[in-house]
């Protein structure tokens, strides 16, 4: 027993020793690779530039003063003339400069003294050749600082400009007047920091809106109970692309129909106001509030027709709204003066609405068709006899498999332009159909499959993959796609926000109390109602808290996303660093620090309030 223990402890110390050795080797290699070298830090030139940069950083280019200057000269001879150097007595009622000695050889040091200048002023002391008064020669370390009486003393070394004529030493003494003013750098920095904050705001908003629905399908506890028979899955899979295609077609038709009516503001206003009234009535009729008994078939068909027409009217309304927004924006842009950005905002909003409406329509129609066919499949699997269901499954599943693989093939063709249909068209379709067929053969006709879990895993995988791509890398991609500027930054940060928030949100959904969920399900609520009444109230506080946290991160990210061209203050900062303009860079760094710490504080306060 004791023996055993000893052995164990020996073995243990040996292992500790080995681990220590391994650690040393790893860090040694790490030093080598990261080129850690303090010698470099101690070198003269490094230290000098470090000092220069640090000093510049300590004097951010934010304020400047109006300056007034006094320029006076004193005669000097270089070299000494043959006779006496005759120097006139200076006028002592004004500022004046005296050089001693009044004549000297090239390279000799003379003392320059100034009197009666502005108190505490400062400025350069320079040499002006007698034969060429426009040419001013800088003399190295030549700044003179006047004391409280306006008196300064400095020494200069005479330049290699020998002449027989009288030459001059000129002192230009300046002082600040009036209140400090912002520099151009400060103005630019302000403009860009605003851009940065709004970039973060838009990215956070966009990300949050899209992350919320995603978080539900990435939550295991909500998706696990979702199971459906193969018939339903296959038909639903066919329904989605069909619905999307039909939706696009219909919405585009509505767009064409609406186009002639969008130009007049009066028509815009009339339809924007009237359509909701019509829609309220038709929806009230088509969607009765209670769901007590199943209505007769005729009534249901009638309601479906009304719903369809309502959807058409709804899209008409969206286009009219877009038209109104654009028309109002355009006509007010000119008259709003400094609020013209509001007019442009309206125009952009209208444009966004026009671009997104077909997408919304396609998605809506896709989900309606997918859902409807899925339900038909569910019904069929429940009511029809096993043999028939099997046959339906074989056909539908093969068709669905073929469609999905065909669409993937089409995407591949579009991306890589392979141009060989047997690889990107017929091949995938056949393979997909075969896989679908196999699935239908090997599952029992009426068995339910874990649809929810499959969707859950696919969503999770996509989210995790995208999340591991840094926002900065995404920004590079978007800069290529939409050009340099804040828009690329919004897209990149937005996408990153979607995937990371969806992950965080879904973890919150997974950790809700299951009791209320059970209780709401027991009342007969369907899935949608259960989510709204049992899940949503529980996740509101953590969602707000995570959104604030993300907004905080986005502000930080948007300050550097400009390094790769994504807009915001990073662009300016990088430019100034490259131009060695450290005082301007310092101003921008200070701006970033201020904004980030304000954001940090605000978001922590809001988070506290929300929970």
């Amino acid at each position: 027993m004791k023996e055993n223990n000893k052995k164990a402890s020996l073995w243990k110390s040996l292992r500790v020793g080995l681990a220590f050795l391994a650690g040393i080797i790893i860090y040694a290699y790490g030093f080598e690779i990261t080129k850690i070298d303090l010698e470099e830090l101690r070198s003269e030139t490094r230290q000098q530039s470090l000092v220069r940069v640090t000093r510049a950083l300590a004097q951010p280019d934010i304020f400047q003063y109006e300056q007034e200057s006094q320029i006076f000269t004193a005669p000097v001879y270089v070299t000494c003339p043959a006779g006496d150097a005759v120097i006139a007595e200076p006028d002592t009622s004004e500022p004046y400069v005296i050089v001693t000695p009044a004549c000297a050889e090239v390279g000799e040091t003379v003392t320059v003294e100034g009197f009666n200048f502005f108190p505490n002023s400062s400025g350069p002391v320079r040499f002006v050749p007698g034969n060429d008064p426009t040419n001013v020669v800088e003399l190295g370390n030549d700044t003179a600082n006047a004391d409280a009486e306006g008196h300064f003393v400095t020494t200069i070394t005479l330049p290699n400009r020998p002449s027989d004529d009288v030459q001059f030493i000129r002192a230009t003494m300046r002082r600040n007047v009036g209140a400090p003013q912002f520099t151009q750098t400060a103005h630019d920095t302000w403009e860009k920091i605003i851009e940065t904050v709004f970039l973060a705001l838009l990215a956070t908003t966009l990300g949050t809106i899209l992350a919320i629905p995603l978080s539900f399908i990435a939550a295991r506890n909500l998706m696990k109970p979702v199971r459906s028979p193969l018939t339903s899955i296959a038909l639903s899979t066919l329904g989605w692309p069909l619905g999307i295609a039909l939706g696009l077609f219909v919405v585009n038709a509505v767009a064409d129909f609406t186009a002639p009516f969008t130009s007049s503001i009066l028509v815009n206003i009339a339809s924007v106001l009237l359509v909701p009234v019509v829609l309220t009535f038709s929806l009230r009729w088509a969607l009765p509030q209670d769901d007590v008994a199943s209505p007769p078939l005729g009534l249901r068909l009638g309601r479906l027709v009304v719903l369809f027409v309502s959807a058409l009217i709804g899209f008409f309304w969206m286009y009219q709204l877009a038209g109104l927004s654009m028309n109002v924006g355009r006509s007010t842009e000119a008259s709003l003066g400094s609020f013209a950005f509001f007019g442009r905002f309206l125009v952009q909003l209208g444009d966004i609405l026009i671009v997104t409406t077909p997408a919304v329509g396609a998605f809506a129609a896709g989900s309606v068709f997918g859902n409807f066919l899925g339900r038909v499949g569910q019904r069929a699997a429940e009511k029809i006899n096993e043999g028939t269901v099997k046959i339906v499954n074989l056909i539908a599943s093969a068709a669905a498999g073929g469609t999905v693989f065909g669409l993937i093939g089409w995407l591949v063709e579009w991306l890589y332009q392979i141009g060989r249909p047997e690889y990107t068209q017929t091949g995938p379709i056949l393979v997909g159909a075969a896989l679908g067929l196999l699935l239908a053969i090997f599952t029992k006709a009426k068995d339910t499959l874990p649809t929810g879990l499959v969707i859950y895993y696919i969503t999770r995988t996509i989210l995790n993959t995208l999340r591991s791509v840094e926002a900065l890398v995404m920004a590079i991609v978007f800069v290529i796609a939409v050009g340099i500027g804040p828009f690329a930054g919004v897209m990149a940060l937005g996408l990153h926000t979607i995937v990371s928030l969806a992950k965080l949100y879904s973890e919150q959904v997974e950790s809700i109390q299951s009791g209320p969920l059970e209780a709401i399900t027991a009342t007969g609520a369907n899935r949608l109602q259960t989510i709204i009444y049992a899940v949503v109230p529980q996740i509101v506080p953590p969602y707000i808290s995570y959104t604030m946290y993300r907004w905080d991160i986005n502000v930080r990210m948007s300050t550097i996303i400009g390094f790769v061209g994504g807009g915001g203050i990073g662009f300016l900062l990088q430019q100034n660093i490259n131009l060695l303009n450290y005082r301007a860079a310092s101003a921008q760094m200070i701006a970033i620090a201020v904004v980030v710490s304000i954001m940090d504080y605000v978001s922590s306060v809001m988070r506290e309030k929300a929970v």
Partner: protein
């Protein structure tokens, strides 16, 4: 009329929580379900409204086969079966009135739930139910601001909103003190007697069983070991139900 035939539930882990359980419940009866902790009471009640899918067996309710119902049919069946829970299972951050209105979800069109709208009659009805259980003044407070006894009343009001024909109560008073327990049980009794609602209630205390139940069934390790009147539980039966070493206290 509820008929449970050869009901068996085996959980994923292999635990046999219900083993071939068969019994009937006539309309309007107050049936107590007793048994040790882990004997399968909760599983049984949850199988009846299919919160848990049974492994085998059949449940017939008013002639309808619950075990074979489609999701659509399940919605119509569930909305007629109210459920009351040991831990109340209210949505804490919602208002009391919203929790009560949730009892109508099986009756309203899901499309309107998206915008959180209930018909006016439902609002009135919710206030009436809260009055009936004596907490009308709490209607607009948050559910988690209420005491345990008040929360259970909200739970009962939510079940009443369903116009239930049957109420499943899973240890409704196990987390309440004896005085509150009686007041909650009296509400259930009143609903049972006045509205003719069938009640299935799992209970831990025999004095409550004697006081409120018309009939008792007992489970032991998933098997039905007793079925009869409360007064028929003598010392021998008691040991059958709760095991040889159990002592009778109540």
């Amino acid at each position: 009329m509820l008929q449970v035939k050869n009901l068996t539930k085996i959980y994923d882990g292999g635990v046999k929580a219900l083993d071939n359980v068969t019994f009937d419940v006539p309309k309007g009866q107050f049936l107590a379900v007793i048994g040790l902790s882990g004997s399968g009471k909760s599983t049984l009640l949850r199988c009846i409204n299919r919160l848990i899918d049974p492994t085998a067996g059949q449940i017939l309710w008013d002639g309808e086969d619950v075990t074979a119902a489609t999701p659509e049919e399940m919605r119509r069946i569930r909305r007629k079966i109210g459920m009351v829970f040991q831990h109340f299972n209210l949505v804490h951050r919602s208002k009391v009135i919203t929790n009560v209105l949730a009892g109508r979800l099986g009756y309203v069109n899901p499309a309107w739930s998206l915008v959180n709208r209930f018909p006016r009659e439902d609002m009135d009805k919710a206030l009436r139910q809260l009055e009936r259980v004596g907490i009308a003044d709490k209607a607009y407070q948050r559910a988690d601001e209420l005491s345990g006894g008040q929360q259970q009343r909200v739970g009962i009001a939510r079940a009443l909103m369903q116009d239930p024909k049957m109420i499943l109560a899973d240890e409704p008073v196990a987390s309440l003190d004896p005085v509150l327990a009686h007041s909650i049980m009296k509400h259930l009794e009143e609903i049972n007697k006045n509205d003719g609602v069938t009640v299935l209630c799992s209970l831990h205390f025999l004095d409550l069983v004697h006081r409120y139940a018309d009939r008792v069934i007992a489970l032991n390790e998933g098997q039905l070991v007793f079925e009869g009147l409360p007064s028929e539980i003598d010392d021998k039966k008691f040991k059958d139900i709760y095991g040889r070493d159990a002592e009778r206290v109540g």
